[in-house]
Subunit: 254 residues, 4 copies
Amino acid sequence: MCRFLAYLGEPILLEDLVCKPRHSLVRQSLRAVEAKTVTNGDGFGVGWYGERPTPGVYHEVMPAWSDENLLSLCAHVRSGLFFAHVRASTGGGIARQNCHPFQYGRYLFIHNGQIGGYGQLRRVLESQLPDSLYEERHGATDSELLFLLVMAQILQGASPLQAVQQVLHTTEAAMQAKGVEAPLRFAAALADGEQLWAFRYASDDAAPTLYLKPQRGGCAVASEPLGDDTEAWSPMGQRQVLHLDRQGRALLAL
Amino acid sequence: MCRFLAYLGEPILLEDLVCKPRHSLVRQSLRAVEAKTVTNGDGFGVGWYGERPTPGVYHEVMPAWSDENLLSLCAHVRSGLFFAHVRASTGGGIARQNCHPFQYGRYLFIHNGQIGGYGQLRRVLESQLPDSLYEERHGATDSELLFLLVMAQILQGASPLQAVQQVLHTTEAAMQAKGVEAPLRFAAALADGEQLWAFRYASDDAAPTLYLKPQRGGCAVASEPLGDDTEAWSPMGQRQVLHLDRQGRALLAL
Amino acid sequence: MCRFLAYLGEPILLEDLVCKPRHSLVRQSLRAVEAKTVTNGDGFGVGWYGERPTPGVYHEVMPAWSDENLLSLCAHVRSGLFFAHVRASTGGGIARQNCHPFQYGRYLFIHNGQIGGYGQLRRVLESQLPDSLYEERHGATDSELLFLLVMAQILQGASPLQAVQQVLHTTEAAMQAKGVEAPLRFAAALADGEQLWAFRYASDDAAPTLYLKPQRGGCAVASEPLGDDTEAWSPMGQRQVLHLDRQGRALLAL
Amino acid sequence: MCRFLAYLGEPILLEDLVCKPRHSLVRQSLRAVEAKTVTNGDGFGVGWYGERPTPGVYHEVMPAWSDENLLSLCAHVRSGLFFAHVRASTGGGIARQNCHPFQYGRYLFIHNGQIGGYGQLRRVLESQLPDSLYEERHGATDSELLFLLVMAQILQGASPLQAVQQVLHTTEAAMQAKGVEAPLRFAAALADGEQLWAFRYASDDAAPTLYLKPQRGGCAVASEPLGDDTEAWSPMGQRQVLHLDRQGRALLAL
């Protein structure tokens, strides 16, 4: 289990959410409260949109709490749409290629959760990737695979919401076909540079937590409240999706 | 293109071949002579057999020339069968998972070369992996994939030589089926803890160089001569395989 | 605060103490029990004596729990005298140069604790280093500095016990001269390839814990018991020093 | 010997100088032309000024040529004043603490060269640091030490040019006092967020090269020309200093 945050709103310094809050993501890398794994020290990453359509990304295998580059980067990069993620590996090895956010073109993706029985399912799910995305498989995690499967749907014309729904559906179908009993857990966020979607889902209705907080003309979403203002953070429900853009936000059923 | 060495003979300190010779593998990481890529600084690895049937392995993404751990390890580990490899990436990213030697059970493998048109072929070649080895795919290189394909043959009962011959054959067939014109290049070594095989092959007869030198009741094989004693190193021919064990050595046709 | 272990006895695989026990040092890197800092993920190191008078050392800035090289090394290196250390930085930055064990010639040193008011004292303590050791200052930690000060005494003819006593004395004197009220805390081990000394000391009698356990003709010393056999581990007292060699062990006053 | 570049002018993406030119600094990390050491793969760093008075910095021990974070950072950070540096270690070990640019408050510093006989001189030069800067000594390089000595002068009221002149003078005096015959070599750049100074000096008049090129209302300075437009790059003379600010540039005697 990992921890992540996503933000869409007025441009702010990344540090305002990633480093400074009393219970910031950097702090959660060392000591998460609501996670099954307290320590999230198996690498981390940030991704942000600036003046280009494609985002900047920074991945590192060290723990977030000890990386001075991260502090400096977050103190100097301002963005109106960014992701950050600290990893607690459930498999896939420690490598930058296994660190979130994953990027393809103008899309960014972060994930907390897992595909039950991934070892048995990896082959059949990878076989569903179109050739153009098969080559984009750089690491070995279930998270990168889910992202590429979502991208496959989007490249075929699906909306991000439809794409995620479709991938969750086919993944669960594959799990059932293999007789996997371990659940699919999926707290995730996806962005295209203009819009942000956050998803909370699990096949067993024990989805990893997600909280949202209105902020500076926008909204932050995080695995756990980031500050002492826990009452300002609303939990997302199971099977909910949050859609954010410059016009506002909406909570939908997933 | 990468540089590597393999040794089977009386137990020696790894440093005797990896670090100390005037043109040692560590030196080649900074300045290779016969390689297409002069600098081999995209990670490295060593693997050695000791008292256990399975080998020890050490992989690092830093250049070999600047890693003090490598110097210390090679000064203190003594082995009668070991591999070392310095990498110049032709794709696959910088990650420990992409560093040689690759290990499976008691087997070690190192490779210098490439599958022509790998991007197009990866999918079809990965689909040939049996389930048990599909899960062992940790990185994204053609070298790891070739190793797992060889292991698939071995697990089905093939000898290491048969296994490599079969994999080279099916890989070339797959390349032809896709209309790939870029060549297959394959200088490699494989060991099982008792025996060592070194292979020199290319579909276009421009196989990466390999040299061998009798040494201390055994033999060293390397991409380039390791010392000033270049006349003591015999070049292996194209389509040759060297077999080494405690009883002696033999050069065979591949 | 860090966690460490030291072993002198019949040669064993490092993994028998470093990786395998239920509460092994690798496990303590993620979840220490008796430490002020639960997570010790700011790098680690091992040092071992083999066939040479000087030890092998391996330092890494990643957390010990995620380093596959460490697992492999410890599964293949056998030694009758070795140290291992996982770091929780109290300053000095994340760098291999700041990872324990520190080595000079045939000596190894590991430390858990700190010099109170180190920022104020570093200058005066470094000025006490003789020229030959001044050049050996590679990092910025108080631990490396204490080690070099101890080595300075040893090079002048002091026994290791005398050297440590002298350095603790001059360090406390320097702290008093600067009016430092924060304590000196010093749990440490020193070895020369034949003998091992473990020290437990603090200026305020709140020295970091050390436990010892007789084992295979020798003894293990550790910051915390390594297994479920906690009753087999005897706590060392404040201001005690344990001396171990091939003939036996003795507990002395420090 | 290392390679570096510095830029002051209209804000541009860092990649325009660091990554994109045919002979960019990233390219020079793998294959420098005018340097004594062809490969500059012992870490690197960038520093840039944005909306804050203090700069952002990014240091990495990997070679610049293989770091995807660097490519992404340089593609997304725009600055009107930035430094970049690729390192070929002449001592001091591989660590982020030994990577340039060095930062103190709003100042950045990069250096190519060395203090002759540094091992003998380190002690006496470090003793010249005031207490407040002694604590800022994180690494072990002569470059960081020269920077802190320069900062000591600046904190006492010297202009950057005066400060560098003073430090070069006292360093040469210390070298003479120790009978050092190896030269002092000093190609360097210093910035305070508004102005940039580039220095070319050596005690033996064999100073490392520096070239400048007017560019976008400002100027780039680099160890070697960055593109095929070598004629557009003017070599700086020995004992010259270039001063740049938003008003223009001036070449002065050092």
